[in-house]
């Protein structure tokens, strides 16, 4: 342990030199991973990078980052902006460039890098969205990439229980580890406002792919299948957002994926992958294996127009384990547009089953 910290102290300031970072701290290039962590793999590498990040912090910052693992700390996430203290952990805005680079190096290995708008790109896109939102609304105090939080619940360890928690406005994830394995990757919130925009000459659209996949899935359904899938009620937001832990409905609603055609099932799989494959390949494979095995018993239901671009459009994927909800919200600050709220949960492994 001490050795990691020692290397961290030596290596990370050097890493800081490699990272080029703009003022907003959003589009920093990923610093090369420190030499000692390269040898590690999977959760051990995450522990190594977590310790390296921690080693860059001063005592006061460390106290904010490193907390006890408690259910109550684990449940402290939200999709709302931090308009009053809701989250735990250290604010990214309090980190200097070296520290931020170390934090990003850690997050970088947690997420996938397979697609521009997914995984790490989706996370960075969401940070950029909040900077964009802050500038657009003239409220950079509340809306900025600095207003995102990272916390370690329990000491990062390859033996004991701990959680890597990260989140801010419209984004949250909770990776729970135990015995050197990931035992939970949810609750995981994905949202963004505005849903698509230009930032530093780049197109940012973290959740457009998800929206298109859901719309395609619904358009693949035949009329009578659509009738079966349609929910009686209206949903103006998610049912199982923050503070709604463990409230999964006893009865599943909608149409059973097992009764759908191969092509239709592929669309369900694709939609699920857009959430699960945000995570590093190894972790994602593990979860996908489970979700695909359970796919025949997984239900799809929806409410609203089915196009996923009207306010109050809603879709739910509810399986023996998986739970995904996606809800189309109006956008107050970008009139005429909509923005998504969505959550990926797992009936069995939310918070690692704790």
């Amino acid at each position: 342990m001490k050795a990691f910290a020692f290397y961290g102290v030596i290596l990370l300031p050097v890493l800081g030199l490699f990272s080029s970072q703009n003022e907003n701290g959003t589009t920093s290039k990923i610093a090369p991973v420190s030499v000692d962590c390269v040898k590690e793999k999977g959760p051990a590498k995450i522990v190594c990078l977590a310790e390296a990040f921690k080693a860059t912090l001063n005592a006061e910052q460390t106290a904010q980052l490193q907390l006890e693992y408690t259910k109550s700390n684990a449940a402290k996430w939200s999709n709302f902006p931090e308009f009053r203290p809701t989250r735990v952990g250290i604010r990214l805005g309090l980190l200097n460039s070296t520290q931020l680079a170390a934090a990003k190096a850690l997050l970088s290995v947690v997420f996938s890098h397979e697609s521009e708008h997914e995984g790490f790109g989706e996370m960075e896109g969401n940070l950029a969205a909040d900077d964009f939102f802050g500038q657009h609304t003239n409220n950079t105090k509340l809306f900025s990439s600095g207003n995102f939080f990272i916390a370690f619940l329990g000491k990062p360890s390859t033996t004991d229980l701990w959680e890597l928690q990260y989140g801010g406005h419209h984004f949250a994830f909770a990776n729970t580890y135990k015995g050197g394995k990931i035992i939970g990757a949810t609750p995981s919130f994905r949202g963004v406002e505005p849903s698509a925009f230009e930032w530093n000459g780049k197109k940012i659209q973290p959740l457009e792919q998800e929206k298109e996949a859901f719309a395609a899935l619904l358009s693949e359904l035949k009329e009578e299948e659509k009738t079966t899938a349609k929910l009686r009620f209206t949903f103006n937001d998610l049912l199982l957002g923050p503070n709604q832990d463990g409230k999964f409905p006893v009865e599943k609603q909608g149409i059973k994926a097992g009764n759908l055609s191969g092509t239709q099932q592929k669309q369900v799989k694709k939609a699920i992958e857009l959430y699960v494959r945000d995570l590093d390949t190894e972790t994602a494979n593990e979860f996908m294996k489970k979700y695909l095995a359970e796919l025949p018993d997984t239900y799809v239901s929806y409410a609203g127009s089915g196009t996923m671009n009207q306010v109050s459009d809603y879709i739910r994927i509810d399986g023996p384990s998986i739970w995904i909800e996606y809800s189309v919200q109006p956008s107050r600050n970008f009139p005429g547009t909509t923005h998504p709220h969505s959550v990926w949960r797992d009936r069995k492994s939310d918070y690692g089953g704790n």
Partner: protein
């Protein structure tokens, strides 16, 4: 059956703040404008999801209340473009809305006996909110009562307005006023009862079970006494008015100027006479105003109060009405009493509760006045014998004149100025 004391999520608490603010804006008028600055900061705490809110006022034999329905959510539930085209909504769709509301608000006793329900005035307001954006709400006044001999405090509030269709909707149920439990305050703090929402796990919407604690007449009375105390303690204008009345009480007037110390006995007697006259005056109008034999709109009364302060301050500077202070104090008392009555008139209390309230409120006011006099009298007594007193009295009088003018401006223009903001 659900547990009444639903554990509120953090978010619900925020909405309470928002609602509290909304009511301040709605119910209190201009002299509270200094609070608007505070409101601005608080509304930044609000939650971006518009929920409904039901506020209850528990009376002796019935419950009155107010329902706030965000029009966007209502449109999701019933269509009719209520949010998209909200102009003259009540005028155009009032009857349909009333019919809809009656179908979806069904209070009943635990034994299944339906309560009577009466819908009152409806209107649409714009709710200002920094985070959620401004949204429109339909506000509905209502009254409900159990059949005779059935419990007023324990019943099923079978309510599914909006909820019958919108599964993500939440309804916050709060008590705003409950005289017997001492829930009568000048601000609009409300007490949460619970949240009416879908039971997601079981896919059900259960009738909400209300169980309110029992109160008592003694508790109601005590609360009115402390309300009277805080009314004076928090009302800067009443406090300073009283001080202004007392500034020249120890002196004798000579040739239209304030002269020397009138002596301990005369001074004390003067002071007691002035205070007693003021008390008789405001007690009288408090009584008449509270039972609504006398009613004046609050704006001119608040302006008149500022005038009484101005006149008293001038009198403290140069004697305007020497030897007639007692009558003037009594007259001014009449005006101040009308403002006190304003606090009690809107409570819809039963006769018994109203009489106890007037009594309790007045006792509270007197206690606070007495406390103030006991505090100030020795100081006045000592100071008025010294040669510095002329300076103290004149400076005090000038400051009070300025304040009185500032209050007057504020109350006429209905917006705060820098002086009133300074002392707020």
């Amino acid at each position: 059956m659900r547990i009444i004391r639903t554990l509120f999520g953090e978010i619900e608490k925020l909405i309470m703040v928002e609602i509290k603010i909304k009511h301040l804006v709605l119910k209190r008028s201009y002299w509270l404008f200094s609070m608007l600055t505070a409101i601005g900061t608080l509304s930044a705490l609000a939650h971006p999801m518009p929920n409904s809110m039901v506020l209850l006022n528990v009376h002796e034999k019935h419950i009155s209340g107010e329902i706030m329905l965000p029009l966007g959510e209502l449109q999701s539930a019933i269509g009719m473009s209520v949010n998209d085209h909200s102009e003259r909504l009540v005028e155009r769709l009032g009857d349909s809305l009333r019919m809809y509301l009656r179908q979806h608000i069904r209070p009943r006793s635990f034994e299944g006996k339906p309560w009577t329900i009466t819908l009152g005035e409806m209107n649409v307001i714009e709710t200002k909110n920094e985070l959620t954006g401004d949204y429109k709400e339909l506000i509905v006044q209502f009254e409900m009562a159990p059949p005779e001999h059935y419990d007023l405090r324990n019943f099923y509030f079978d309510y599914d307005v909006i909820l019958h269709q919108v599964a993500s909707h939440k309804v916050l149920l709060n008590v705003r006023q409950d005289w017997e439990r001492g829930l009568v305050k000048e601000d609009t703090t409300t007490q949460q009862v619970g949240v009416i929402e879908w039971d997601i796990v079981n896919g059900k919407l259960n009738p909400f079970q209300v169980s309110l604690q029992q109160g008592s007449v003694w508790k109601g009375f005590q609360n009115m006494v402390s309300l009277g105390i805080s009314h004076i303690a928090e009302g800067t204008d009443h406090m300073l008015f009283l001080l202004t009345l007392l500034l020249p009480a120890m002196l004798t007037a000579e040739n239209k100027r304030w002269g020397k110390f009138a002596g301990f006995k005369t001074g004390l007697l003067n002071l007691l006479k002035i205070v007693t006259a003021f008390t008789i005056g405001h007690s009288l109008t408090l009584l008449l105003g509270s039972v609504q034999w006398l009613h004046f709109p609050s704006k001119p009364i608040e302006v008149l109060i500022a005038v009484t302060i101005l006149v008293s301050a001038f009198h403290a500077f140069r004697p305007l009405y020497p030897k007639r202070e007692v009558f003037i104090a009594g007259g001014f008392g009449l005006i101040h009493g009308l403002a006190f009555a304003e606090t009690l008139t809107n409570l819809q209390l039963s006769d018994k509760q109203m009489i106890l309230s007037i009594l309790g409120f007045n006792v509270g006011i007197e206690l606070m006045q007495l406390f103030l006099i006991l505090l100030v009298f020795p100081v006045l007594l000592l100071l008025s014998k010294t040669r510095y007193y002329t300076f103290v009295r004149q400076a005090g009088a000038i400051v009070m004149m300025l304040l009185a003018l500032a209050w007057m401006m504020e109350r006429i223009q209905e917006k705060p100025n820098f002086i009133t903001e300074l002392i707020a």
